[in-house]
Subunit: 267 residues, 2 copies
């Protein structure tokens, strides 16, 4: 809920416990889940950030230690000056990585500064977890980078509003974007989205887990609050061969050509 | 049909006339449509190439002049030594561009040499046409390059066999790959696929035209021989803004960061 950082932090602890109870080992929470998303102003965003948005990471470490899980979630944070749309990967030992969203969407541009650091991939006992946030998924440069850095799964805390043009395009294009990122990189992709209304913005709840074939595992998307759980065998992410062929999704790349192309575009 | 170059060339002339009669201005034919695809051997591929595969381009120029259309299609060609899986863009004035497939699929690796030239974008009276072939679409580096070079539409002569793993992944992942390439680059994508059986390989006929929202325009995909026709307003490809937002699919890229990431991956 927008504006209730303490209440959101409690709900997020409960959500982590519920997910762990149901067997989840890697638990993904939405983008900006401690503050809400639809800020009235930069002033409000700053006040909510100062109200402990980023301290939720400490909660997640505690919950991760209790349940022996890995937790990923999004939150607003400040470096003392600017605000950033961030996400963190934690386990019971503490913070494993933080990330500042590189590609800001619409009204975020008036609130946050974009990040300048590469999206991270961290080793966990479960496998290598790569991290980006929502609109970052629409830049194949991001998901490719995470795959090349060895991600077994790309996790993306997300807030998907209904009504943007992509939503009206046949079936949901955001679902296809995640499935295709999974398929062309032969990794898993886990998107945790929000559901419900917030100050007139409708969140569509298109959480999903896509496998390296681009198939959706776990529950299919639907317009309701839900918990998506899937068994993901990360050995599949480590074998980049297209089954039954002489091809390999990563080894078939032509990076030397891509660099030439990039140079010609830059000139 | 595999092996009947003269017969295929006649059928292709008829197909171009039929498409033009129905109002098509930019006409896309499948990959390797003059020779067929399932070669028994390199020897057979070489014999069929020598039987006039590439001369079909001359037919297409003649048909393009008669109907005042642009034609794109795939064919085998040789430089006197190696064979290449090629495609050409022609209009009534002649050849506008040729391209050698950069990413070869499975048994093509035993027949063809990969191309080393960038996929081309050419100006036509209809708009800027970017060209790649089939499996190239699974490399977002290719479609991004074509969009950055100004393509209004990316055309991809294709032969999609049933039964590869991607085919079994929920709904057809190849359709999603084309839709997502269209959406993240805000261009049109036109895929002309084959339908039918050839020496035990089943072609699924997933021709489609995707618009910059990632929506499929023209006929939906289906397992039958078909002709897909759509009105494509290329002004939509030239406006990269996400409708109703402050965002722009191309201007929001962070190329300076991507270059840093690329360097760290190369080291």
């Amino acid at each position: 809920m927008i504006g209730d950082v303490d209440g959101n932090r409690r709900l997020l602890r409960l959500a982590i416990r519920k997910a762990a109870d149901e067997g989840a080992r890697l638990i993904v929470l939405p983008e900006l889940c401690t503050t809400g998303y639809v800020f009235e102003s930069l002033r409000e965003a700053r006040a909510l950030t100062d109200a402990g948005s980023a301290d939720a990471v400490t909660d997640w470490v505690e919950e991760a230690a209790l349940a022996d899980v890995v937790v990923v979630g999004g939150f607003a944070a400040t470096d003392g000056t600017a605000l950033y749309n961030c996400a963190a990967i934690v386990d019971g030992s503490g913070l494993l990585a933080t990330y500042r969203k590189t590609h800001l969407w619409n009204r975020e541009l008036a609130i946050f500064e974009p990040g300048d650091e590469a999206p991270p991939v961290v080793s966990t006992p479960l496998g290598a977890v790569g991290l980006c946030i929502c609109y970052d998924l629409f830049f194949p440069e991001v998901t490719r980078k995470l795959a090349l850095d060895g991600a077994d799964v790309i996790v993306a805390p997300t807030n998907s509003p209904a009504g943007r043009s992509a939503e009206t395009a046949g079936d949901n294009i955001g679902v296809s974007v995640a499935r295709v990122a999974a398929n062309v990189n032969r990794v898993f992709v886990a998107v945790c989205d929000r559901y419900g209304d917030e100050r007139g913005t409708r969140w569509v709840g298109r959480s999903l887990i896509a496998d390296p074939d681009g198939a959706i595992v776990g529950l299919p998307p639907g317009n309701r609050e839900k918990f998506v759980l899937a068994d993901c065998d990360f050995r599949r992410s480590r074998d980049k061969r297209w089954p039954g062929t002489a091809n390999d999704a990563i080894a078939d790349r032509r990076p030397e050509l891509y660099r030439q192309w990039e140079t010609s575009n830059a000139s």
